[in-house]
């Protein structure tokens, strides 16, 4: 029988396998009734996967292990099943419909209606009650698009409360919030706890965890490492958490490389970028960075730190508005405001999202290879098809792309081979600076090694390489120098010899001064 001493939730021996990858391996999680339970881990450690298993996004049968909720073994097929039991997950990307009102969003899929006809009086009255409960001072008929992200987060919580939530799961709830909204949200979590609602919070912000969590489970490489009691005899230090988060042996997974570092090629100063949809939000904050010929420079940072935004804003303002700051190439200030200008000036950016922002999946390899600089093989606007074939053939051989011919549709290749096509494209553009955003994401280990070798070769040929990666061992394994970013700022810079996962993680979790404690 469930009583106050038994945990409200126990996940036992959870193993979840995707084709070729073991995302979760024998994970155990025990959440006590009425507590705030934090889950910590690096990007890709398996936190979100675990929560998706719990909430039924990955339904019963697609994983191994047991979920015991309130003393009963649960077999959730869909999120609807878990919601019926009172488990509600609020995802990082809010799932609200911008053109509908707050009240409509709260009851979306759960409408106050009789016989299919909506009872508007009841809808708005109950919504108003819920809004009071979460401390949101807005009218129920206000449209979602007219309120900020912080308030939207509260609407999500109100929506969860409307479903009689017993266990509330928040995935990075404060990642997109400013300090004031974050503080309010944490206050609300305390209040819900007083009302008897248990919550699980996934967060990268260690000070937040220290402030609100009763216990913390740390996940690493798909395994639950340990659960810390935050109110125990010994106070839990941030260092302690960081050490557990990254504590992994560095194997010899990286090719040896001795760099030959030359002159400075690219430098940015006072680089500030604002969010394209919300120009008041600073996404990159006064960043400075430089990279030299033959050098591989890493940028470390947790989700939402602004790494991709920094890179894309440098790449011809392809992200952001209100971009200010100075960009230097070979020490000379340049103004590069379009992607084509960036490419002409020798800057290349290989995206982290190959499928949506990188490749044209319905086209073949050769056309994708030449896409960024077709004029190189064209005269008077006419593409030399024979040259295109021989050149993309050459890249296919150099990169050891595994495919019978360059006529093959890129969509049919594996992740590693697709990445090689992306690299071919940017090499063909002959850049001086090559920014690689998560170059090994979704690629198997063997192909990763090949990508590292290609990166080393690029540096040896005198190119300046910037690597953005969420995998710290990867950065430590291939970079000569590593910058760390947190909340849009570059918080530190370490040469490879001085960098360690712990030291980087400390910079990566560094808060803005005056943040909530």
């Amino acid at each position: 029988m469930a009583n106050d001493t038994t945990p409200i939730l126990e996940m036992r021996g959870i193993t979840k396998t995707f084709p070729g990858v073991k995302a979760l391996s024998d994970v155990t999680l025990s959440v006590a009734r009425g507590e705030v339970h934090a889950i910590c881990g690096e990007n890709g450690a398996g936190k979100s996967t675990l929560m998706k298993v719990l909430s039924g996004v990955y339904g019963y049968g697609s994983y191994e292990g047991d979920i015991v909720f309130e003393g009963e073994t649960c077999k959730f097929k869909t999120t609807r099943d878990s919601e019926e039991r009172g488990i509600v997950i609020i995802h990082q990307e809010l799932a609200l419909s911008p053109f509908l009102s707050i009240a409509e969003n709260i009851f979306l899929g759960n409408e106050r209606a009789s016989g299919g006809v909506i009872n508007w009086a009841q809808t708005n009255r109950q919504a108003a009650d819920l809004l009071t409960r979460v401390g949101l001072n807005e009218q129920p008929d206000t449209k979602i698009m007219d309120i900020g992200v912080g308030k939207q987060q509260l609407v999500e919580i109100a929506k969860a409360l409307s479903k009689k939530v017993k266990l509330l799961i928040l995935d990075e709830p404060t990642a997109a919030l400013n300090d004031e909204d974050s503080a309010h949200l944490l206050g609300l979590l305390r209040q819900l706890k007083a009302e008897g609602i248990t919550s699980i919070i996934i967060s990268h912000k260690l000070n937040e965890i220290a402030a609100i969590a009763d216990s913390t489970t740390i996940i690493r490489d798909g395994q639950s490492i340990e659960t810390l009691d935050m109110h125990g005899a010994e106070p839990v230090s941030e260092d302690r958490i960081i050490r557990t988060m990254v504590g992994r042996d560095l194997e010899n997974r990286y090719p040896d490389h001795t760099p030959t570092i030359g002159e400075e090629i690219l430098r940015i100063e006072n680089w500030t970028v604002h969010h394209p949809n919300d120009p008041s939000r600073v996404v990159v904050d006064n960043a400075a960075l430089d990279v030299r010929a033959g050098e591989i420079v890493g940028i470390a940072g947790l989700m939402g730190a602004g790494r991709t935004e920094l890179a894309m804003s440098v790449f011809g303002h392809s992200y952001g508005t209100g971009i200010s700051g100075q960009l230097y190439l070979h020490g000379k200030p340049v103004g590069i405001k379009t992607v084509s200008a960036a490419i002409e000036n020798g800057i290349a950016y290989a995206t982290e999202d190959r499928k949506h922002y990188g490749l044209n999946l319905i086209e073949d390899i050769k056309r994708n290879t030449t896409a960024a600089r077709l004029q190189k093989i064209a005269r008077l606007g006419v593409v030399n098809a024979a040259k295109e074939i021989t050149i993309s053939e050459q890249y296919r051989k150099d990169m050891r792309t595994k495919t019978p011919s360059v006529d093959v549709q890129v969509g049919k290749l594996s992740g590693g081979n697709q990445q090689k096509v992306v690299l071919s494209r940017w090499l063909f553009a002959e850049p001086e600076v090559l920014i690689l955003d998560e170059p090994t994401r979704g690629i198997d280990v063997g192909a990763k090694y090949e990508i590292y070798e290609i990166i080393n070769k690029l540096a040896d040929s005198g190119k300046a390489v910037i690597v953005i990666s969420s995998e710290l061992p990867e950065l430590l394994g291939i970079c000569d120098r590593i910058y760390a970013m947190s909340q849009g700022r570059i918080t530190g810079q370490l040469p490879r010899a001085e960098a360690s996962q712990e030291s980087l993680m400390r910079y990566m979790t560094m808060e803005k001064s005056g943040a909530t404690r």
């Binding site: 992607v339 044209n360 896409a371 077709l374 606007g381 098809a385």
Partner: protein, 401 residues
């Protein structure tokens, strides 16, 4: 041939003949559908369908669809649509008539000015689509009203009495400079021979290039079959045209040149590549440095130019400018593009495919008319053909996954 060499060969040729046909099913099915429909009408009309004079009028009647659908394919591949082309044809055609009949401009000059005017109309629409960012559906829906209104304002109802030299652009044939061989017009025969030779040379060269670079080629049987069928088709068409009353229709030369030119643009130029890149993955194209606004603008200018050409042909065919001309032309062009295999989502589509689509519609039109099917049933049948063709395309794609 031993099994071992066969497998090796199959590998470099990208699979067996059956596998090859499977992968290129769409284009073969469209051609096959055209042939089957034509033969069926040939049988049903006791041979009336493919009488030389009927084939000539098939070409002349549908010339505007061929011309418009070339531009429409490009627009759709890039992920847009153009609903205004019918009205633009009426507007530009109207001004053409006025230029010749009331402003005393020599007709060849008027033709050039008409095409330029089409380009200006295209620039107007391109501006709104590319630089203001209004969806093309809206801009060209507005254009549909706008240019129809202007056509009526300027033309009233009709401006008639256009010179016969001008009208010959749409209705006439090349003069019989080289006399007859039997009852065959030699000019037509020569042009047919040149076309067949051009097809042979270009296909052989392309294949040799592929072989030289050790690239996947279609199986030799398919290659040979395609050449034989292609040359036979050109030969048959040439024979029909050469034995028709007039000989080689002028408008076929215009359409032929446009098809070759635009196939080349779509396949071999940076502009064409950028169109496919934008339709296939717009953000990726932007991040590869494609100047998407400029490409969009030029696409609509190009559509306007082609609408200008279609306007000249339509006006010449009627022998007068008619304010109500071009009704539903946009739908004919869009239907032809989709029947010809252009993807609804953009990124995929060929000029030659759209021409085949236009031919299917044209043959249906003519065949149904000859067999006295009433117009209301003609519309029903054509509507069903459009839906079935696109459904086939989508189901085929789903099966491929």
């Amino acid at each position: 041939m031993s099994t071992a060499t066969q497998t090796k060969k199959a590998k470099t040729e990208g699979g067996s003949l059956a596998g090859y046909l499977g992968g290129n099913l769409k284009q073969y099915v469209m051609v096959a559908a055209l042939v089957v429909i034509t033969l069926w009408f040939q049988y049903d009309t006791n041979g009336l369908m493919l009488l030389p004079n009927n084939v000539v009028s098939l070409i002349q009647q549908n010339a505007y669809v061929f011309i418009l659908t070339i531009g429409m394919v490009m627009i759709i591949v890039a992920g847009h649509i153009d609903l205004s082309v019918g009205s633009v044809v009426a507007f530009v055609g109207g001004i053409t008539g006025l230029m010749i009949m009331q402003w005393d401009i020599a007709w060849p000059v008027a033709v050039v000015l008409a095409i330029v005017l089409g380009g200006v109309v295209g620039a107007w629409q391109g501006f709104w689509v590319a630089y203001v960012g209004i969806p093309a559906f809206i801009v060209t829906l507005g254009g549909m009203l706008l240019f129809r209104g202007l056509a009526i304002y300027f033309v009233g109802t009709t401006v008639g009495g256009l010179p016969s030299d001008f009208n010959a652009l749409a209705n006439g044939a090349l003069p019989n400079w080289l006399g007859f061989a039997g009852n065959l017009d030699v000019v037509s025969v020569v042009i047919g021979a040149v076309a067949a030779l051009g097809l042979l040379i270009s296909q052989v060269r392309t294949r040799r290039e592929l072989v030289k670079n050790d690239l996947r080629t279609e199986p030799f049987a398919a290659f040979l079959g395609k050449l034989v069928v292609g040359v036979a088709a050109i030969g048959y068409l040439t024979w029909l045209l050469a034995s028709s009353a007039g000989g080689m229709p002028i408008v076929l030369i215009i359409v032929g040149v446009l098809v070759l030119l635009y196939s080349f643009i779509m396949n071999n130029t940076i502009f064409g590549r950028h169109i496919y890149a934008m339709g296939g993955n717009l953000p990726a194209a932007m991040l590869s440095g494609v100047k998407t606004k400029r490409v969009n603008f030029l696409l609509f200018v190009n559509m306007g130019l082609l609408a200008g050409v279609a306007a000249v042909i339509t006006t010449a065919r009627a022998g007068s400018s008619v304010a109500a001309a071009g009704q539903n032309y946009e739908l004919d062009a869009i239907a032809a593009a989709f029947i010809g295999g252009t993807a609804v989502t953009g990124g995929v589509g060929k000029v030659t495919g759209a021409i085949i689509g236009a031919l299917i519609m044209g043959v249906l039109n003519m065949g149904l008319s000859i067999t006295n099917v009433v117009p209301e049933w003609q519309m029903v049948i054509k509507g069903l053909v459009l839906i079935v063709a696109v459904a086939f395309d989508i189901l085929n794609k789903r099966r491929g996954k």
